[in-house]
Amino acid sequence: MIAKRSVLTDEMVAKIEALAPRYPNRQALTLPALHIVNAELRHVPLEAVAEIAAILGLAPAEVQDTLSFYQFFYQEKPHGTVRAFVCRSISCALRGGDQLLEHLCHANDIRPYGTTADGSLTIEPAECLGACDFAPCILANDDLLMNMTPDTATAALKQPRAKAT
């Protein structure tokens, strides 16, 4: 059967299939597949969930069940081209993490988890990014921004950046 797909590209499917020999069943490909789609589309719409399920031989609900657990994958619309995780856990909070988050949301006129009108930036609070030696810190796509202040963070988030892998 040749499945008709509207969201997943042949390239995405090839990337997913390339990982198949690593696992003894296809359900284990769920999270890698979600990451592959998300890396390209910056969200995983419901159509993609159904198409991933069809490829993996699962019910769409099984993929959606896993996806919804993580609160990591956007579904309704893509996150910004830069997705900035601002750490608010204890080591960053002790050095101004909460204030940093508040400042950045204010400066960009968005609420936490919001995306700027031009789609360039999404700001999310994050739990410990594991970079407490550089607190307060931000993960912007694949780049760790260290020892941030409101001013340096505002400037850094205006920079163009490679997409997250």
Partner: protein, 451 residues
Amino acid sequence: MQPFKPVLLEAVGVSDGYTLTSYKSRGGYAPLETTLSEKQPADVVEMVKASGLRGRGGAGFSTGLKWTFLPKDHPGPIYLCINADESEPGTFNNRILMEDDPHQVIEGIILSAYATRASTAYLYLRYEYPRSWHRLQAAIDEAYAAGYLGSNIRGSGFSLELYLHRGAAAYICGEETGLIESLEGKRAWPRIKPPFPAIEGLFRKPTVVNNIETMACVAQIARRGVDWFKSIGVPADPANPRDPGSYGPKLYCLSGHVEKPGCYEAPLGITARELIDHFGGGVWKGRRAKAVIPGGISMGLMTESELDTPLDFAGPGKVGCLGLGTAAVVVIDETVSIVDFLHNSCRFFAHESCGQCTPCREGTSWSLRLLERIKAGRGRLKDLDILLEIGSTMGMMPGSTICGLADGAAWPIKNAIKKFRGEFEDTIKRTNPSGWMVTDPVPALPIVGAH
């Protein structure tokens, strides 16, 4: 303090320390070749058992003993999972090892897979570590090319495939059965035990789950020997037959209000005060510490007067903390409100509770709502008793949850209120002068989103 030369961190500061060439020049992979050609898997298990190595991920269970729980003569497959879902607030030692010396970790993984007869190993890496991901993948590629991974490793007949698998930002994936469920493509709900993973784990097969730092320790034990490892740390207490001792070097993550935050290697048993003063340059801005987290936020709090507690596996428990945990020491200075600290802790656990067990899902969420109410100036003294009741009833220790996340959520609550009750009471009375004494029920507060 005795001078101590870093071993696990010897590649830190070496410009190309993460490459295969650099690792081999430091003596790496030679112990693996010797082991594969001269030793049986059982010898490696015995070596690690004899070393007294206890798992570095948080629970501190004997690594060698964990391996012996695997069924004998199992037809296979047996899986090895490496837990790199390091998410405990304050903890970053695994990140340093993966970024600065990935081959040390990989050698430990190959040795551990040989010992456990695993032919497939999955390294479960948290999403937030893209740099570790790239460094590890490059190192794995190098190791395959050099014949340290793949089929028939260095002509020994032993084969191992090592795969990276990425998480998606959920703390619960660090719980070993949560990790297994996540790897299988499901929501990361921890499993009821027994059966333990050693009997029925990943894909329903016998499985061992070990931490990154544990793997690095295995590599160093193979290189330097059991006697070297046992010469470091705190010997078993002869008066306590159940104490297995705290042997070996340990990576301590120091952060918060210190002059020089960082990951420092020291013998197990260094005190929090030595760590802060010797490595951290003291509490920042010349201030005093009000409280110190001994090993990640789950472990609770030590007061300033408890800072001479040795940070070995038995130490923090003697001052009412949950344990050594991940040995992530976070310093909180005298200017911080303990109410703010506890609010931050409760917010973390309310967000990260997986929602499977009612006492944890509701307990973490309600404790956050109580703290929010106190911070909003509507706290009552009775709230402290309610918080303590929540803290003493959720978790594996009271027996109400499947995994230990709730114990970790409960400990900061119990420690903070028991050790700083006066400050909580003063704050409540000061911010709610007309209502702090009220004990009538209040309407439900908004629900908190969680995993």
